[in-house]
Symmetry: none
Subunit: 292 residues, 2 copies
DNA sequence: CCCTATATAGAATTTAAATTCCATTCTTCT
DNA sequence: AGAAGAATGGAATTTAAATTCTATATAGGG
């Protein structure tokens, strides 16, 4: 019946589908044009709805949707729907195109490039997700606590240690007193005892939460020191201990997790806290909206 | 059967669901906790996947998902899924609007969001640029040197220290012997003396190059130890000392540079080196294409 | 104006997914 | 340690959705 009609390669992503529809639209039967318009105007409905729902929305019969998909070269509506679902999954409006190109290029270059590309993609995923999960209010609250502290204690072990150490560097540059709690000589508990209620603890930990980190945080929190936690889930044992916390979930690329999102979050906190501190101690030149 | 059990009003939107799960999580059976975590970590899969797909992703049986939904008060998985689908619909009301207004949205949310957005964008810029400047050949060469080393010494100070420390963590996990050269007690020169020709040094430094890092690298290189450098320019003082080097330029967002690209590069090296080492020492089960 | 080819609507069928049920395995309490 | 209860995995069943089929309508050509 439909032998050799589909000259064009069938579209697997939303962009190509859009393009293809624009081209073939005029040659399509009336009802199918109607479906095409609806599909491009309501991509979310196309992705999430059942055939019956979409048909109702577009004002056509269910079978029309199937014929539409088939006339485009797909096996059926479900196959067409995958295009719309993929678009929902991978919606990084700015970066999706770039990423697709990167993946292809990496394949061509060989194993090392694929590996690198994996880490790059995991990092970008983490970063874009960060922008969605962390709100300005959360950041403000956490930064307020840090700005009000005399000394900021930093705690992070294993893979979170890198984050804590960079934060220590940044806070130092910004002129905020910070102490990096490492476990040198197994002295962590003793060094943690220095924290007093006028200070603050910033703790970073991800699954599986290092017991030492959790224990130390609990000990410090119990002594009335405000705790800001950076962790990866609402179920983290740090959350009940914290006065403020940020959810930072890092994607992994097989072997190791990225730290990109954690670093971005932590630097934001550092700069925010410094700004707030600046407002308290030395009044800034421009009042009102302090941030540029 | 389930008369009047659900005391709580059942959640119809994502936020309440999230909250409810956080509360009830501890009282839940093991598998149901597992599902709860997966659901919050992969909301898109929950929205788009079928029961079978989600079950596979979460590592449970399909029936467990249904029981999970029911224990929360929903009629079944489909009803629970609606919550996740609604979230997808509502969060991106309009595709085009979002394209235009990412930065505007940050403006509207306040200083904190602008700041965070800046760090996220800087990181993504660094990461995509990394893919352009670093070639697979460079990576291979550097990884070969590391794979051939008995012990890998890691050197990075100031902001590069975070990178070196994460690399140390990763190499340890991969079973490669690595020594992080910190300057504890001002003993850096003495500790660096331990490196011998059969070892390797991985050094990370960016403008302005920390003198201590450069000096130590020079001393080690002169004693015949192969050096792999991660630095930000061909004119870096590390380049003439190195047997292999990678150019990693980090974008900055005003105050601080991202470390995202450096971390991605360094992790790639670590995994590559471990793979090569595996090939040399214990022949892998699958010959030919050793990858994964 | 009629005949043929194509498109369409709606019912019938097929296919796939969600839910329930039951046997087995862990837990917990005595 | 043993029994009772809850939790789990997997097959069986039910339910819903997608696809196909056919009768009817519509448009285009002779």
């Amino acid at each position: 019946m439909v032998c050799g009609v589909a000259v064009t390669e069938l579209a697997r992503d939303f962009r190509s589908l859009r393009e293809m529809l624009a081209q073939r639209h005029d040659g399509l039967p009336r009802r199918l044009q109607q479906v095409a318009r609806y599909a491009l105007d309501h991509p979310d409905e196309m992705a999430l709805g059942t055939v019956a729902e979409v048909a109702k929305g577009a004002g056509v019969q269910p079978s029309t949707l199937v014929r539409f998909a088939q006339s485009l070269g797909y096996g059926g509506f479900s196959e067409l729907q995958q295009v719309f679902r993929t678009r929902l999954r991978d919606r990084w409006p700015d970066y999706d195109e770039r990423l697709l190109g990167l993946r292809d290029a990496a394949q061509a270059e060989g194993g090392a490039a694929i590996l690198l590309n994996g880490f790059v993609e995991a990092s970008i995923t983490s970063l874009t997700r960060l922008r969605e999960t962390v709100s300005a209010a959360d950041l403000d609250k956490a930064a307020d606590l840090l700005a009000g502290a005399e000394t900021i204690y930093l705690l992070g072990q294993r893979r979170a240690f890198a984050v804590a150490s960079y934060l220590g560097y940044a806070l130092g540059k910004l002129g905020l007193r910070a102490v990096l709690l490492d476990n040198a000589g197994g002295m962590l508990p003793e060094r943690a005892n220095l924290a007093r209620p006028g200070d603050a603890l910033l703790v970073i930990s991800f699954t599986p939460y290092t017991p030492g980190t959790v224990d130390t945080t609990a000990a410090i929190a119990q002594r009335g020191v405000p705790v800001v936690a950076i962790t990866d889930s609402a179920f983290s044992p740090l959350v009940p201990l914290a006065s403020a916390w940020l959810e930072v979930a890092e994607a992994d690329s097989g072997a190791f997790r990225s730290l990109a999102a954690s670093l971005a979050a932590v630097l934001t906190l550092a700069v925010l806290a410094a700004e707030k501190r600046g407002v308290c101690f030395r009044l800034p030149p421009s009042p009102g909206t302090a941030g540029r």
